[in-house]
Amino acid sequence: MSNIRNFCIIAHIDHGKSTLADRLIQLCGAVEDRKFRDQILDSMDIERERGITIKSNTITLDYTAKDGQQYQLNLIDTPGHVDFSHEVRRSLMSCEGALLLVDASQGVEAQTVANLYLALEYDLELVPVINKIDLPAADIDRVKDEIEKDLGLDPDEAVCCSAKLGQGIEDVLEAIVTKLPAPQRDTGAPTRALVFDAQYDPYRGVVLYCRVKEGSLRPGQTIRFMNSGKEHTLEEVGRLRLTRAPQKTLEAGEVGYLLAGIKTVRDVAIGDTLTDGSNPAPEPLAGYKKAKPVVFSSIYPMASDDYPELVKALDKLVLNDAALTFEKDSSAALGYGFRCGFLGLLHLEVVQERLQREYGLSLLLSAPSVRYHVVLENGETVSVDNPSYYPDPSTIAGAEEPFIKGSVMIPERYIGTVMELCRERRGENIQFNYLAQKRVELTAELPLAEVLFDFYDRLKSSTQGYGSFDYEVLDYRPTDLVKIDILVNGEPVDALAQLAHRERARLRALHYCDRLAENIPKHQFKIAIQGAIGGKIIARSNIQALRKDVTAKCYGGDITRKRKLLEKQKEGKKRMKTVGAVDIPQDAFVAVLKTDTDS
């Protein structure tokens, strides 16, 4: 057991985590070279295309070290994006140590720091690894300086490598063996195992990934989820090679998978503790935090006929995305759909893309919203994440919105720009402290709602790509919340309603009005598009009436051709949503709801 190492790689996005994992896997011969492909642990198309890891993944490697002994290395790959920090937490809880990967040219970034704190929270041993040393812009001395000053780690412990070229990979493996501790072994105590992930196998049902902390797991055993109390009979346990490798037992200290005939991941609380049903442990493992959705949006099928398809697709999708929540929703303009909860904007995008790509659905998403707390005059507090359920304003005493603590790391020269951006986004308590090498960490308390709309893009563009960003949810704070209605010829378009801070309402409404005006074709009458708070109009845009569309020639007896043109017009109208006698094409909703260029 002293030859087991459970570790993960933590890094800022793009610092080369998946590439390093690839090299470790190759060097340990876990996969034949001819079967190898890049980012081998990233199985989803989206992960490969975007070069990001969304789902954790785990693999067991056999490594014969320089001391002549064979080691079992369990690499738990973690997502790199802040949206998925709950997955990172669970992975960290399954490990004794971590490689903290730093890009030799970019240096320490916001997520590097955030991940360091997370790892320290779980008492992990850390080995700094400086990657991409082959880059012309690599500056190892500077990065070592940052590792010492910004992270408080010993720079002399740092291992240098180039995962891309395969340089220094053995040094990394040796560091894992020599510097990271072996797991504590307590096989005698009642069984406790942490479920840190689950995937869905269409033939075997749910595959649970777990780290056995105490005791052992073996087929035939009755296991119990300590939080939910549900029991199942273990069918199979084993190690995670590139495919599943069954074993007789999984012992304390090991990482592996188990199958127990569980039908859907909905039935599994990831992060829950498993114990032996006949000899239960008194307490579950501590430290687990459940992932809570923070961003909400309604998803509608483009064609309302596709609603049953959407139902099926969501049911399948949640089989391996336990963080996604959804419930039925309906809109007068867009028909039936679902109100979904996401861990963040990236999660939202990933879900949208998977639904469109893996299930061939064409979708429309309403403007993302955070969850507000609305305090009523009668003292009651209600949570509102859907503008449709915003209470009658006359009954509202006040509202609160979620705040985050955002952390931005930037070269010193961008302080002014970024402070300005934070202030513009209603940032409070903006602070900065100097790091090594003329770099600054700027922290601010920001409304989450303000970060949802293109904050990260703006940060990137205003710092020429140098700014890195990370956040954690803080608390709820009082806010001046209003509901913006978008009216077309006096009738509200429910799918476009949204909640916003009063100060931001006018701009948001103007943006919506202008976008709609650009994308609704002219009608035979003038169309007024308005943004309103209650009865008060705060923004307006007009579409002039169509003045001329008659083609003067009537083609001898060729009435057919002309009728067919009209048929086309009529066909087109069918695919539009009619509000206030105005036909709104789907394109207009898409254009309006796109967040990329939100003002």
Binding site: K522, V550, L566
Partner: protein, 379 residues
Amino acid sequence: MSDRYAGLYLHVPFCTRVCPYCDFAVRTGDAEKRRSYIEALLEEIDLHAGTAPTFDTIYFGGGTPSCLEPDDLGRVVARLRARLSTVEDPWIFLEANPEDVTPRRAAAWKRIGVRTVSLGVQSFDADELAFLGRGHSPGQARDAIRVCRETGFHTVSIDLIYGLPGQTTDTWHRRLDAAIETEPDHLACYQLTIHDGTRFALLERRGELTQLQDDGQAAVFRATHEHLNAAGYAGYEVAAFAIDPGHRSRHNRKYWNHTPYLGLGPSAHSFDGSTRWWNHRTMDPWQQAIERGKKPIDNAETLSRRDLLLETLMTGLRTYRGIDTADIRRRFGTDLLATNAELVERLHANGLVKRHASRLIPTLDGLAVADSLAAMFRL
């Protein structure tokens, strides 16, 4: 309401030159081609002998029918009267280019029985004519009108094109005045439309030609109707104006009111009250079918009740008379005023239609968007 007698259309696919805005089935052709066309047309007439209805209008359209020899036109008319059933004195229409009009030819047309000459004047401005690629001068146009007048045709009609790039209501008023001065009986004013596959479409793609915008088009459309109506030329359709009801086109109205018509020649369309069919668009397949003794039909469609209703709205709303909802209820069993009450109310409130007894009559603003009005009705 349909007319009592059917209409006959003959498509002449020849032009001495192809205009840059034209997307009709036309070609330039040598004398040999024209001769073989006439022979094929005569045979096509024979193919319909005994089956066609009785006609009271014969319309030579194109293309440029006036570029055919009057003798050939005469042979066609003689064959029509011999093989098909016509009224005693059918009304013959002839489209003509001003440069083809000479006193001798005009007299020959008159002898054949032509009563309406429709002159492709297009403009009385030399620059505009050059832009439109026409082969005549403003002077030739005036001469042609005078010759026709002196020949004693019942109706002299002129075609004009408006909405040219850069045209304003001012310049267009001047062109209309020039037309009115020549005292035609009838005017057909077509707004320039750029069709795919024409030279103008190519120029537009290259950015060398810009069409008038929606507002500009609406302005000249309105100007056309207001100016001509004020000058005594009463409009009766989006593009048609007559000095008195007797000079309105009795052929075109058949297309608008579902009267049967037979079309002969390449690309010509026919309709028998429920089915519409059309000939091969180009000369060769058209001619080959006839040589094999077959009707040169490319394709056909049978109109559903809904198709007929949509066409009734489409063509009706392009006319000053509008649509008669009582007539529609009798023909189709649909009471539009009930099934589209809200729409009718809205169109009325927005000044696009007026109601007169059971009729819905488009206003001038309504006529300008007649195409989309028809598409709005729930059928």
